[in-house]
Symmetry: C2
Subunit: 174 residues, 2 copies
């Protein structure tokens, strides 16, 4: 008989991918447009899988599907910008989350070039201009660890939140 | 003269930690209580730095401060549970985000033992029972990559969202 392995002493039937996605849809999250520009070209995509990692050094992370059409640009370019969306950006989010050509996506909003040349959304809720510092491949995705080089803040106050596969805003409790 | 390095051609003054935290507070996020139990003891903490990574295999991530009092338990125990909170859990979130002793935190809600023995919040919005599959240290924090073994769903429908350092709920847009 083989020895007991160091793996789980309890065995579980695998969690089906669709069930996992349905459950993750119940984790509300801010919507962001992640942009880049440089030798690999200009690109951008909508993402909710973004979170703060540490303030020393200031670092956030972004999860990117390795099969996405934007992977080439985000691999070749050293800089990126996390543009957090306000409630007024619902249509922009849909454009950057679909199959729309890049030029058409960017034409739908006002951008300025950040200090590193990446597109910064003019009226974002907040924007983090970053340098890719490290990445890890996990299954189908790449986790990009991004050191924050500069922060820009728009005037918007209402957050765009994706929850239950629908757009929401954050409403103050009591 | 030294050769040009491969690092940033542009040099930036460092982003001050407080400014970074103020900016990250504008990234709205679901609130979760991360729990564990096992040889390292029972522990739990509130976290917004949680996101989906991939559905193949079903994996999420959680960021944990390495200076936190719960690190020992989360290092020794192989399993954990991400309990996503509903709007009714505001007080519970504050308890698990403060300095309250563990027994008092857990006494404030109903839990059941999951398949791996971890505490699962009875009325969570959704709960992900996980096995720690991989971790990465980034600055002051450890990023825990967690394979999802089982999913439990409560009946609650209103999400608890932390945004601008205040509790919110997600309100449907138009």
């Amino acid at each position: 008989m083989p020895p007991l392995s160091g793996a789980d002493p309890v065995s579980f039937p695998p969690v089906e991918a669709g069930l996992f996605r349905d459950a993750m849809a119940r984790l509300g999250a801010a919507v962001n447009i992640i942009t880049t520009d440089g030798p690999g070209g200009r690109a951008g995509f909508a993402a909710t899988a973004v979170c703060s990692v540490t303030d020393t050094p200031p670092t956030l992370l972004v999860c990117l599907n390795r099969a996405s059409s934007v992977v080439g640009a985000f691999t070749a370019n050293p800089h990126l910008c996390v543009n957090t969306l306000s409630a007024g950006h619902r249509d922009l989010s849909s454009l950057f989350g679909g199959k729309t050509p890049m030029a058409e996506r960017f034409a739908a909003a006002q951008w300025h070039a950040g200090l590193t040349g990446v597109p910064v959304l003019a009226d974002s809720l907040v924007a983090f201009e970053c340098r890719l510092s490290h990445s890890v491949e996990i299954g189908t995705h790449r986790v990009l660890f991004c050191e924050v080089l500069a922060i820009a803040g728009g005037g918007a106050e209402e957050a765009l939140i994706y929850f239950g596969r629908r757009y929401h805003t954050a409403a103050a409790l009591g």
